[in-house]
Symmetry: D2
Subunit: 310 residues, 4 copies
């Protein structure tokens, strides 16, 4: 974070959007600032469990980042992702599109599962025991399912899906402390955030994580004139890129190409060097295979990159 006079804003949302677009900003913040706010869960339920807005990943925001212009990169960090109620919920049956087509007939519609989310113990478990899973205790690993910036060209993109602007990527790697980079398409970037998960498996294959409302704190920064094509991220161990599309093959193509460009610009590697390196060390994570656009993550280990001169 640059600058010396950063501000910590507190913001309480009164309205939510189920598209990510050029909506009127709710708050203007400066690079370096942080915001403490809240998000409702995917069905619009707040910290009391009451549904206060229609379902479909309602977004808090958008936040206008001073100085952000198309072609810049918004830097984002989730400083705190804290469930603010004691129960979450999940869909339970696997989605029909993640099993063999013939097996889909064995799936059936079932009620949502309510999970106790015990922050003290750091564990989640079904409130009503599920036969065979009675002893199950899952570690809480909070993450944000859906966030992004306003897309280009006046689009308002449903929070059900994702694209270059971010959106409903449902990648479990978008958790606390990760640095995220988003391409800026409109003045002020217009950052939206919501859809907190207490935890989630790869792929979000049942269609949800453990969905819950959050107290959330995030900070922003800006890289003026640095243009990226897809969301990127960085944690202690990896640089990573996110590609969003169907089929998964195309999501992988986007993520892989974005990593090639990153290695080119920031490590000075030409296509041959970047290819040689990626071919032997790249790793992939599946973000989601449930939403209209799937998400694939391409990761480069820092332990290898750190061998190289940057």
């Amino acid at each position: 974070m640059k600058g010396t006079q950063v501000t910590r804003h507190e913001f309480q949302p009164t309205h939510y959007y189920t598209t990510i677009g050029s909506h009127p900003p709710v708050l203007r913040i400066a690079p370096g600032d942080s915001v403490a706010t809240t998000t409702v869960d995917a069905r619009g339920m707040d910290f009391t469990g009451e549904q206060i807005t229609p379902p479909g990943n309602p977004m808090t925001g958008p936040f206008f980042v001073e100085g952000a212009e198309p072609g810049d990169t918004l830097v984002l960090r989730f400083d705190r992702l804290a469930p603010n109620r004691a129960t979450g919920w999940s869909a339970s049956m696997l989605a029909a599109n993640v099993v063999d087509p013939d097996f889909a007939r064995e799936l059936r519609s079932v009620p949502l599962t309510t999970w106790s989310v015990d922050l003290q113990a750091g564990e989640a478990f079904p409130v009503e025991p599920i036969p065979g899973l009675e002893p199950l205790r899952l570690p809480i690993e909070t993450m944000v399912g859906c966030f992004g910036v306003a897309p280009a060209g006046g689009q308002a993109i449903s929070t059900a899906t994702s694209a270059e602007h971010g959106g409903n990527m449902d990648y479990r790697g978008f958790g606390e402390g990760v640095t995220i980079y988003l391409p800026v398409f409109v003045e002020g970037a217009l950052f939206h955030v919501g859809d907190g998960h207490a935890t989630q498996g790869d792929g979000e294959i049942a269609g949800t994580g453990i969905e819950i409302s959050f107290d959330i704190e995030f900070s922003v920064d800006l890289r003026k004139g640095e243009t990226i094509g897809w969301p990127r991220g960085e944690n202690d161990d990896y640089l990573f890129t996110a590609g969003n599309a169907r089929p998964l093959d195309q999501a992988l193509q986007h993520a892989t190409t974005e990593m090639l460009r990153w290695l080119g610009r920031d490590w000075g590697l030409d296509v041959l060097a970047a290819s040689t390196l990626m071919g032997q060390v790249v790793e992939y994570d599946v973000g989601n295979v449930f939403d209209p656009a799937y998400t694939m993550i391409c990761k480069m280990p820092k332990r290898v990159l750190n061998q190289l001169k940057r």
Copy 2:
């Protein structure tokens, strides 16, 4: 391994196959036995670097496992995967199918890269320095790219691709010490093995790992009457299943459905319980996205499964 009188066979191949099929067995072994043998690299070059057989993942074998019948499961363990020469090679340019179609024009044909494979140091690095990658030293993490059993119905499946019988899955998780389960389709199972890699990135996105000939030692066992649909595996941390198909979405469907079946049969979880569990804890690895059939791996962490009664 069961049985008391296990045999360690030593076998030196004189002929190699580039299909996996019902070829005449080269050796008959019993459940519990192990075999020490050698494999040539993907272009048919042996420990001397000489090409002794035509290229295309030539297989050592097939090995006939006494008592194996269709519907059984072959249990396999790679006890030792040791490169037996000092250099390997790799393709260097990313494959056109893993980048955005428009980006494919920036790829070009380049010579193979020769890698020094220093077993003493446990490191591999290009023999001719590649500009930008001069300091690169990759840890050696041996794995087998292609192995499998004879498929059903008299098929002879090219070692370029993979299916229910295994084949060219190019998953970096098929390394030393992993237990692998393969469905048996023909009498004797007819196990084939080859295509050793000193290391490889996820997806084999440049089309090869660091390809090298191996001294290899593996052991087999048999689960009579246990029928599985796709290759499975087990390591210290995970149970996993492999699905092979294109697009990656379909490979994921196969692997996910196979894991559902596994949890059903061995943990007694019905579709609802297995779905609830998998939805929140499953992990996926990309095997390969280069071969005619792609490979997706579905993983269940033992730390979670061990909470449950089996």
Copy 3:
């Protein structure tokens, strides 16, 4: 068309949208009415060839249809699709995504091709002869590349792509005289239209048809309370449904499922009867395989359907 007092509106657009969404309507029309208006070409050029609005399939409209409510079906007929200038243009090189990935390297960037569009002769041909194609004269077969109604949930969907609301389907079957059915998602339906083609191959595999501005006349009607899931159409020979998605497999799933539903509701066929029939007589057309969402058309021949009691 129902009603007796139908109106023929003349409308000259002054503003264009490159998203299909809940924009302020430019004209209110009643079921049974027709509209004579103009469309600019895909790069925003009007009948003079001057670019009067930014590129990207600018839409004329939206037109508010009185009485249309979510859950209704908008009935649409293109009564006249007449190029209103003497030249069109096309991209010439095939898109990288429609050829084998390795072949994509043989494609290159080339200027747009200008086509003479001779309405008198009913033919189009390149203004500058292309070596090997000098004698080529293509019949003019006008069609509309992009049209649709405002989608649900406040979305504004780019005219580059398509979904349940229609959009950039680029199907050559959307020509003069065809009856088209669109699901209504918002009050007034909000119909948008643009992106005229003098002709186009299946798939729009070079990325464009012969793009040209149109004098266009269309009429609308309404089916109150009839709910459909995807665009449908009807010509002299076929009923058809359009599915929009990637990969083409998913577009085909959407179109096929929509046809099953149509045969169920309007012909009273249960899933077994509809399946038996479709399995032996269905036909498919490829709409586009260039846009972010591909389009597949599922067709049922009337010569067969007319055998059945409706």
Copy 4:
């Protein structure tokens, strides 16, 4: 057909294969020769309706074509495709993979449908009336679902699927009188044929056509030294190419690339000219979307090609 002394062979099969591979030839024939033989249906039932060989598209052949060598093109014509019994059968329920995944739950397992195949009237209809379809009479349009030549490299490819060698393409365009071109991979080409259909819809979306045994007559010729990559065909109105793969997108890439090559070699069109032409006039047919590899057909109308100098 070239040559003056052509022979009409009559051949009665006694053995059938469910893989296409380098099996011992049953007959040696010369370019120009024709063969009158029989095929069993997809479940191995002959003209009496008795099952005489295991199911799975059993093949008659292989036929060794004198002089055929790898790199040549086998020219094939189905001169007569005549059902030789009075009933065929079909699967009735749509395949789970051709409908929306969530809709798959509405499909169910049902018995096969028996169809009366009335050659006199040229019509087929269900023997047991299906409610809603009682008046249905489908015109008989015979075609061959599965045929091909032995693939390269010692593969024996299941007759369930298809690839460069042909195989189970299930394209309704492979009917009487069409000229077909197949790449030759092994000495003698080794032509296999079977899986006759009285008729079939595009895509074979219920998993079968109206399956029936055939009296079949075909003739062969050879184009020495002409190498093609995928099956090609020619009828009165079109040249066409077949691509076999999943997803359909990849099948389309293969077929499109093969057509580009054809226009290049035989019409002298460079990539720019061929692209310009194909972009505005190409047509696609869906072969099958049921088998492990899907089939897409790329068609060029002769009425356009005939304008050009060849």
